[in-house]
């Protein structure tokens, strides 16, 4: 992962790093400095120059780290008394994160090697299931064929002629029937209005009438459960148009 020979300056590309921590580790390694006693001013300057040189492809993450480094640098400059036990190294959290990240990088190397070794051994590959075997050739006997043909011919119904007669929907009539029923009862069901032997025309007429009445807020329609019977209810008077 390291590139750029010694003395070669920072020949680095931001894309090569998986994040600001990776870049920091790279700089620390290049400088051969002690990670636990980070020369924060130097590292911060190098970090800034690298990210400014390389554009800001992943600006937010790198800029956040830059800001953090500068803050730590400033904190390091604050005067402190010798032997002050209360003093907390402002670098501590960053060092902890760097070490943690370094550990992850080491695991990455390990995992990468393990994956490479595993990739050198092949299991039985997945193979798509074979296409269905072709059907066995047919074995037909002429008599079988003839009797089958007879059976099929017998199934053909007598030709039937349909006469199409216009049967106009009677929405008005349906509306009248619904209003009458509404006058008698607070609520009723679908069956009460269309009856059990309704023709398709009746059903359609009633349905359209109901939709129209619902639109005018004369009735409310509800279906308490999926596929359950429809309940037609007189709408509350104040809502009625």
């Amino acid at each position: 992962m390291n590139q750029g020979g010694p003395g070669g300056g920072f020949v680095v590309e931001l894309e090569k790093f998986s994040g600001p921590l990776d870049l920091l580790l790279h700089l620390i390694r290049e400088d051969e400095v002690d990670i636990t006693d980070l020369p924060i001013a130097k590292i911060a300057d190098q970090f800034l120059s690298v990210i400014s040189e390389l554009g800001l492809n992943q600006a937010a993450d790198y800029l956040e780290m830059a800001a953090r480094l500068l803050r730590i640098k400033a904190q390091m400059l604050l005067p402190r008394r010798l032997g002050d036990d209360e003093w907390e190294d402002p670098r501590a959290e960053l060092v902890r994160r760097l070490l943690e990240y370094q550990q992850i990088r080491e695991l990455v190397d390990w995992l990468g090697r393990a994956a490479d070794v595993r990739a050198e051994r092949f299991g039985r590959g997945y193979e798509a299931p074979p296409p269905d075997a072709p059907p066995a050739p047919l074995q037909i006997d002429l008599n079988d064929l003839l009797s089958a043909a007879e059976r099929v011919i017998a199934l053909i119904p007598e030709p039937m002629l349909h006469r199409v007669v216009p049967r106009p929907l009677d929405v008005e009539g349906a509306t009248e029937r619904i209003m009458k029923l509404l006058g008698e009862r607070e609520q009723f069901g679908w069956i009460d209005i269309v009856g059990k032997q309704a023709t398709i025309v009746d059903v359609l007429s009633v349905f359209i009438a109901l939709l129209e009445l619902a639109k005018r807020s004369t009735v409310t329609l509800s279906q308490p459960e999926p596929f359950g019977p429809m309940v037609i209810k007189r709408a509350p008077p104040h809502e009625a148009a």
């Binding site: 994956a115 051994r121 299991g123 039985r124």
Partner: protein
């Protein structure tokens, strides 16, 4: 070979993924898992050094795999393809999840120092990690863990096969590293 051993050989040959001991035990309900395990050992030694394939314990199961030395030849002939390598970002994320599981996205982001959402989505898609539970904190974040496929692509028997953190050259100091030596 023992009849049970031959049965296991057949099943493992037919399978295109590792089979667990429990799965193999379901082939013959009259024998216990202990018998299956010893039959597996017999099968493994039968495939000792004299064969091009070997029986490998992997992903909490068993699988016949070709020996490493034939990898290049097989691949050159295009009889099989090596899986694509995982990116460093994917491996970083996997490493964190493997060791911290169950772990939320925020913690992964923080350890890596970059947003890891897209990488984690891809790993979920590839079946290498999965949501295992929800955390306690604000918004009950989704917590992720590794899957058997993760073990499979790394050739690991189980999570115990991962190196112990103490074995790494970088020992992680806890946030209070007062009397740390070295």
């Amino acid at each position: 070979m023992h009849p049970l051993t031959k049965l296991l050989e057949a099943a493992l040959f037919a399978a295109s993924r590792p089979l667990t001991t429990e799965e193999l035990a379901s082939l013959d309900l009259t024998v216990g898992e202990a018998a299956v395990r010893s039959a597996l050992e017999e099968l493994r030694s039968a495939y000792g050094d004299d064969h091009g394939v070997e029986l490998v314990e992997i992903a909490e199961g068993w699988q016949f795999l070709t020996r490493r030395e034939y990898a290049e030849t097989i691949e050159r002939a295009q009889f099989a393809l090596r899986p694509r390598r995982l990116s460093p970002a994917a491996l970083e994320t996997l490493a964190i999840i493997a060791y911290r599981q169950p772990v939320g996205r925020l913690e992964v982001d923080e350890i890596r120092g970059v947003d890891s959402g897209a990488v984690m989505d891809k790993l979920v898609e590839r079946g290498l990690i999965e949501v295992v539970t929800r955390g306690e904190g604000l918004g009950r974040p989704l917590l992720y863990g590794t899957t058997p496929s993760f073990l499979e692509i790394l050739g690991l028997k189980d999570l115990e096969d991962l190196p112990r953190l103490e074995e790494l050259s970088v020992a992680l100091r806890r946030p209070t590293p007062v009397e740390e030596e070295e």
